[in-house]
Amino acid sequence: MSVLMQVSPILAALRRHRSAVVLLILEISLTMAVLGNLIFIVEGTLQRSRTPTGVMESDVAVMQSISVIGQGNPGNVGNSLAQLQQLPGVVAAAYGGVPLWYAERDRLFLDSARKAPVAQAYAFQGSQAYSRALGVRVIEGRDLDDDEIPVAEATNEHTVFPALITRALATQLFPGQDPLGKMFYNADSGFRIQGIVEHLRGQIAGKFDDDFSMIYEARIGAMDMGGGFTIRSQPGQLVPALRAASDLMQRMNPGHVQNKVYTMQQLRTESFRGDLALGNMLVVVMVILLVVTALGVSGLASFWVQQRRRQIGMRRALGATRGDVLRYFQIENLLIVGHGVVLGAIAAYVLNRLLMQDFEVAQLPFGYIVVGAAMVLVLGQIAVLGPAMRAAAVPPVVATRSV
């Protein structure tokens, strides 16, 4: 028997249960709408938690050393950095913070009159060797050179810093032009672009300007400053190198409070912990939804199988095979769930629109609808399998018995 020929009697039978069928279709479409959007949100979180910051994360760490103002400190930044640099396993050490930790955002201007800002960017400001300590990848132009950067004590509002900026920021500031050598300004200083780095994300919020960043350095010598000290180790030696570095910093700067010491990996874990926890909750919710919908589908199918025992027996007596009966219920399920899926695709888009208004959710790509549809269709088939097999097991002799 061809599948198509079965459809019209199935539809005729379904029309007798119109209300139950409509409810089931509604339930399936809602499930799919919620499911598609939740998968999208969870997937987005996972993606963000894996987006690189652009620094060599496995080898970079930061020490927060807070200077107690008004309390003398025998140490200074220049000496501390020189000593840190000597530690075994340390590739580079610099004054300055790391991504995901703390980075000021500056408004940037193309004219020194600073009339209209053209972008807002994460400003990674540090000492000599800062870009090397972060381990960013310079893809155009050249890295900052310790001999060419201004001396911190001598900087003023006329100082022009050589700067590295990200490719994304270069495109924003100078679309279609060669950015190397071009000038731009923040509220305090001027900058000449000396190199382009591939990526440097101050935060990973999933926003278009996460990757708008600049790095500039000033030579710091005998000044005592508190703040972040970034170190980069030889590959795989971060833990011992960081321990030694933190001890050394404390010894050299008794006038500082060493508040926190983080590896980049710890910072990453901490930044995404909440989001990932929410993701886990949503996964639990998705499983609950799938289970509830499966229960609904198989519950209704069971009722219908019980209700139609005599008809099934009659069909079997008239020559239908077990396979025919099985397929009947499978096709019936496919029709119902299919309708639900079509409605569900529309509902998923509507729900996505609503979420976009209220929450920071992006537009739902079509792929998620397809995945959601496939999941719901497979779920429907699995849910109906039990009742359908019970139907197929109905012996033909049932037709001859009255109730």
Partner: protein, 441 residues
């Protein structure tokens, strides 16, 4: 009659134990999931100080230039240093308090006490009385202490435990930002949620669901200590977002929070006029470019305005609603099928003299029974769900507690949902025509 209906219901439900179990499971899961998320949402949007919220108000004024690009028409959340001090000095009808936040290097003034950064709330003397802060030892400082820039401090119970092993430390000395401070009070555990007076969070990013402050010192004394550890939740206008970082008295940066206590409509109106008068005066004097743009929100309105409930929790609330809706539809579908399957039985009962009403209430009893059992099954699930939320490393995790009213609400919701889900199927069942059914038997 009810007993008879219950008996029939239990018999009917036991006839199809698997299907009954499916329905109970579906309702239970739906109730469990939605109660979990609703409890979190409910606790997050609760009133942090029910006894005081009616009399606490948060004034805002607008010192910004008129044609500021992309500026919010609402005045800034906080005040500039100048306006905060001016309004603090202009005594209104009731108590008032100014405050900010940061952290300061602190230790006990004894040898070997390690220096550590402690979250600090610089504020004025009325803070403790206005916000009904409970004290373990001692008390707050006086208004004279504020005026004299006295070096006194109130510490949290947790800091008292760390530095003094929990003993009464009133009268002991602390070294805060290199200066000597005398402890005058230790407050008991106190952390109203949401922390209405710190919704912005500021440099320490504590925020509405953050941890309590460890150290409270007089505002004006705080400005005197050698410090550059950040100044509250600062926001500046103009081209330099970081203008006030090292100069908190900058005229274009807001960061000082003001709260006032106003008892009754008359005082609220009087303070509203005071704010407008002050703004108009500053406008005339040339400091404010615009005409008065002031707000005087009560505590609860302020929390609403600031949308303190995290987007994450609000989204979970919507998801909960979705799950609940799907479970309802599921139940309606199953009940329709179940009741219609009993058409034969219903036909016989009708033919034997049962009224439509009786059939209807019989079916509803059945639905309600499913609801109660499903709800009872869903409650432990909700408990499990909340336990999972508490394991989450998020700031509001401790808010995920199921209290007795919420427990009762959950059970009520389950029964109401099942009854609502049963209404239409039961009505349909009661419309069964007895003649047709009896004939087909």
């Amino acid at each position: 009659m009810v007993g008879y209906h219950l008996q029939l219901a239990s018999r009917s439900l036991r006839r199809n134990p698997v299907l009954t179990a499916l329905m109970v499971l579906a309702i239970g899961l739906g109730i469990g999931a939605s109660i979990t998320m609703l409890t979190v949402l409910h606790n997050l949007s609760g009133n942090p100080l029910p006894s005081r919220s009616d009399v606490l108000f948060h004034p805002q004024i607008d010192p910004r230039p008129v044609n500021l690009r992309g500026a919010d028409p609402e005045p800034p959340d906080n005040l500039t240093y100048i306006d905060a001090v001016n309004l603090y000095r202009l005594k209104g009808p009731g108590r008032r308090v100014i405050m900010s936040s940061n952290w300061l290097p602190t230790r006990a003034d004894v040898p070997d006490s390690p220096l550590a950064m402690q979250t600090t709330r610089p504020t004025t003397s009325d803070f403790f009385g206005m916000f009904a802060v409970p004290f373990l030892y001692g008390a707050g400082w006086s208004e004279q202490d504020d005026e004299k820039h006295a070096q006194v401090a109130v510490i949290s119970r947790a800091l008292n435990d760390t530095l003094f092993g929990g003993r009464n430390s009133v009268g002991k000395q602390l070294v805060i930002a290199t200066k000597s401070f005398r402890i005058v009070g230790v407050i008991d555990d106190w952390n109203p949620q949401p922390r209405f007076y710190d919704v912005g969070g500021g440099v320490r990013r504590t925020g509405a669901f953050g941890k309590p402050d460890q150290l409270y010192i007089p505002f004006f004394t705080w400005l005197d200590v050698p410090q550059d550890y950040g100044y509250g939740d600062m926001s500046c206008w103009g081209n330099d977002d970081n203008a006030g970082d090292h100069e908190p008295r900058a005229g274009n940066c807001t960061w000082v929070g003001l709260w006032v206590q106003l008892d009754g409509r008359a005082q609220v109106d009087a303070y509203q006029r005071l704010l407008e008068g002050y703004s108009a005066g500053q406008h005339t004097a040339g400091r404010f470019e615009g005409p008065p743009n002031v707000r005087l929100r009560g505590l609860v309105d302020w929390l609403d305005y600031k949308h303190v409930v995290p987007a994450m929790a609000r989204m979970q609330g919507w998801v909960a609603f979705g799950v609940f809706l799907i479970c309802m539809i599921n139940t309606v579908g199953l009940l329709v099928a179940k009741f219609l399957r009993k058409s034969g039985e219903i036909g016989v009962r009708r033919a034997l003299g049962a009224s439509r009403r009786q059939i209807f209430s019989q079916c509803l009893t059945e639905a309600g029974t499913i609801g109660i059992v499903g709800g009872l099954f869903g409650l432990p699930l909700a408990g499990l769900g909340l336990w999972m939320v508490r394991q989450q490393p998020v700031a509001f995790a401790p808010a995920a507690q199921l209290d007795l009213p919420m427990l009762a609400a959950a059970l009520l919701l389950a029964v109401a949902a099942a009854l609502a889900a049963g209404l239409w199927p039961a009505w349909r069942a009661s419309r069964v025509t007895p003649a047709m059914q009896v004939k087909s038997l």
